[in-house]
């Protein structure tokens, strides 16, 4: 008997990892961001399977559309739509520490998460002090407001600051570009 949940979870995660690899190793930057968007959609499906619909929707709205579309716009403005090829020796010199770190982190995280099993701590003893009694047994959105209201307010402020910063930066860049064009003529 096939466990369809397990099958779909594994297939979606595999797709996400493969798309992540494509996103990182494709030379075309535009394609790279498109692969990243596809990866985000796959991760969103994983969140949906794990019964976290709000997280799935937020990642779909914020990452797959907002952030990545901004990245696509920036790439189309910058005209460097391809990574510059390097001599093989220089590439190798930079790749070796990267590969070593990749393997080291893989081993360290595997040991930490899958051998030591830290999540076992969660199933025993009383609730940690940062969880208020009001936050137990209710939905994530209720928790978001009831238990983490200060965080939410802080986050609204942070997102507002980020949006203002982006608008200011992009506007200044456009003004400088226009001034350069006027000077040229």
């Amino acid at each position: 008997m096939v466990d369809w949940f397990l099958f779909e979870l594994t297939a979606t995660l595999t797709a996400a990892i493969v798309l992540g690899v494509f996103a990182l190793f494709t030379r075309e930057l535009f394609l790279s961001v498109l692969y990243l968007i596809a990866m985000t959609v796959a991760i969103s499906r994983v969140f949906w399977l794990l019964e976290a619909p709000y997280v799935a929707l937020v990642i779909l709205i914020v990452y797959a559309t907002g952030v990545n579309i901004l990245a696509l716009i920036v790439i189309s403005f910058t005209q460097t739509q391809k990574e510059v090829a390097e001599p093989a020796a220089r590439t190798l010199a930079r790749e070796i520490p990267g590969v070593l770190l990749f393997v080291g982190v893989l081993i360290a995280l595997y040991w930490a998460f899958l051998v030591e099993e830290p999540f076992r701590l969660f199933s025993e003893g009383p609730l940690p002090s940062f969880v208020s009694d009001d936050a137990v047994g209710i939905t994530s959105l209720e928790t978001l407001w009831d238990a983490r209201s200060v965080d939410v307010l802080f986050q609204v402020f942070l997102v507002f600051v980020a949006v203002t910063g982006i608008v200011t930066l992009l506007r200044r860049a456009r003004v400088e570009e226009k001034a350069a064009v006027i000077e040229e003529y």
Binding site: L36, L50, V74, F119, L169
Partner: protein
């Protein structure tokens, strides 16, 4: 340990290591941002996985933290993307090695 949690943690580890590898080796600023994004997504996957497979009272809390970190990381990445565009306008390159040479 449930099979599903093991699979999720393995995927999360792979994604995080992949992001770290990109952060170490890629020279293009956009690729560095993509690597950062992959690392953030790996961390959020961990939050949701632990929320799903730990005790019931932690389910809502894990998802809440995932939403909070997701929005903060999105704000940070958007700002970095905008700054990248500004840097390109000023110096005409997105190569991080060239940009680090410019400050000398």
């Amino acid at each position: 340990m449930p099979d599903e949690l093991e699979i999720l943690l393995t995927a999360s580890i792979l994604l995080f290591a992949l992001g770290l590898y990109g952060l170490m080796t890629k020279k293009n600023a956009i690729k560095v941002i993509i690597s950062l994004e992959i690392m953030f997504i790996a961390a959020e996957l961990n939050f949701v996985a632990f929320a799903k497979f730990s005790d019931e009272e932690f389910a809502a809390l894990g998802q809440t933290f995932a939403i909070l970190t997701l929005l903060v990381s999105a704000a940070v990445i958007s700002l970095v993307v905008a700054m990248t565009y500004n840097v390109y306008q000023k110096y005409g390159t997105l190569d991080t090695t060239e940009l680090s040479l410019l400050k000398r």
